[in-house]
Symmetry: none
Subunit: 256 residues, 2 copies
């Protein structure tokens, strides 16, 4: 079932009542997979249980992990939610536009990521996602309660499913795709970063912000497994060439 | 303003935290008129205030009345929400179908009526409305939390409003993109090919088919000008490193 293939990931939630409400509304719309990243409360305790009412099963099967990357393990696609425009020019999409993308069979398991109640997701965390949604809201008070935001997204996923005919979509958008899991893409990014540091394209203090740009670009591409293998093959060959040079003593040079 | 012309009416609410959450989500979507019919809690007290956060104004201007008919005073149209099919044959509509009907100027002031947390609205109360909506949900656990139901309806009202004014929408979806012209992307591909030949990743007889894969991948990405500049910067730096090595005499090596 396609809704059950979507994980709801909460990064550092701090309100156990919110977590309980989220379990309830997830089950209301047919979602079951809840993952808490480094929770800041006893988020699956008594208050959560009280709010979950008849969704105790969602709470009981919830998984607690230390890092966002652990939560994303095995996922093919991830969408992050964010309340405010940030200092980057990645498009924030409307939930009704972006969420159907998680329902395609090739996308699953898929992830929908929500940030902290007070401060949302950091830029670094946002970079683990490929698309970004913002729930349109009143500019005078745009900040939704976490459980309200999850509820609206679950509702919108249900709506999208109703108007969704997998045959049309899959044949049109993704001809037999073999999407690379996010951790495979991340391993490529790390290999790329280490090479770029080695050749002096990156410096340690500029690496994080510059790597953000590479991550954004490659996430948008939705790399397939064979493409990641190809890109990593290029890196390996370059590393081989470089290691030879290093052995022979690298000369100093001024970059253009 | 057309959203402000819609009253949210809660019949005998019993949870003050719910009422506070409702005030918040109403303001999030531009609604301000909250009416409580015979509340069963100190529904505008401390707990409500805590949950309302920056929507204290909605709580402070909320009106408490004794009967549903008082709450409906002056309204032109009313829609009631109900969770379950009842023993009457009035159709339950989808929120996206029925809610736009409250946005028509002729309809206002209009009302959206929600029942008790545990038992909803009585048949008698339902009879004060003209249309009836049910939020589609999982048959295994259809019963939504009251605040979640109000939140979803407010979101749907906002959606319905947006589809009236398409010009608001377009600005949100397409960010300021700066797509690279195809010839710029092609110049990158050629520079990439020449580097890959130099490092021995490509051989002249395999280059065309392999470069096809790179072209497919990067075309799918829809590279922006600054991204092409970044990718070419990496190639330049790599070429610089390599040219140094070549000058120093490249040793023969067996590739893995």
């Amino acid at each position: 079932m396609v809704l059950a293939g979507i994980r709801i990931i909460l990064v550092e939630p701090a309100g156990s009542r919110n977590v309980g409400s989220i379990a309830r509304v997830m089950k209301n719309f047919g979602l079951h997979h809840l993952i808490l990243v480094n929770p800041q409360c006893s988020c699956l305790g008594a208050e959560a249980k009280q709010m979950a009412v008849h969704a105790q099963d969602v709470l009981e099967s919830a998984v607690v992990v230390a890092k966002l990357t652990d939560a994303l393990q095995g996922c093919k696609r991830a969408i992050a939610t964010t309340a405010r425009p940030r200092d980057w020019d990645i498009p924030l999409e409307h939930p009704s536009i972006a969420l159907p993308w998680l329902l395609e069979p090739a996308a699953q398991p898929a992830a929908l990521i929500f940030g902290r109640e007070d401060s949302g997701l950091t830029n670094e965390e946002l970079n683990y996602a490929q698309r970004f949604i913002r729930i349109p809201s009143n500019p005078e008070y745009p900040s939704l309660n976490l459980a309200a935001a999850v509820g609206i997204c679950c509702y919108q996923l249900g709506e999208s499913l109703e108007s969704f005919s997998p045959e049309d979509n899959s044949s049109q958008e993704s001809p037999k795709t073999d999407l690379a899991p996010l951790e495979v893409v991340e391993a490529y990014h790390q290999q790329l970063e280490s090479l770029l540091l080695k050749i002096g394209y990156l410096y340690p203090h500029t690496a994080p912000s510059r790597m953000e740009k590479f991550r954004q670009m490659y996430h948008r591409t939705q790399l397939q497994n064979r493409e990641v293998a190809m890109l990593r093959g290029v890196l390996r060959q370059m590393e081989w060439a470089l290691s030879h040079q290093v052995e022979e003593g690298r000369s100093e040079g001024v970059m253009e």
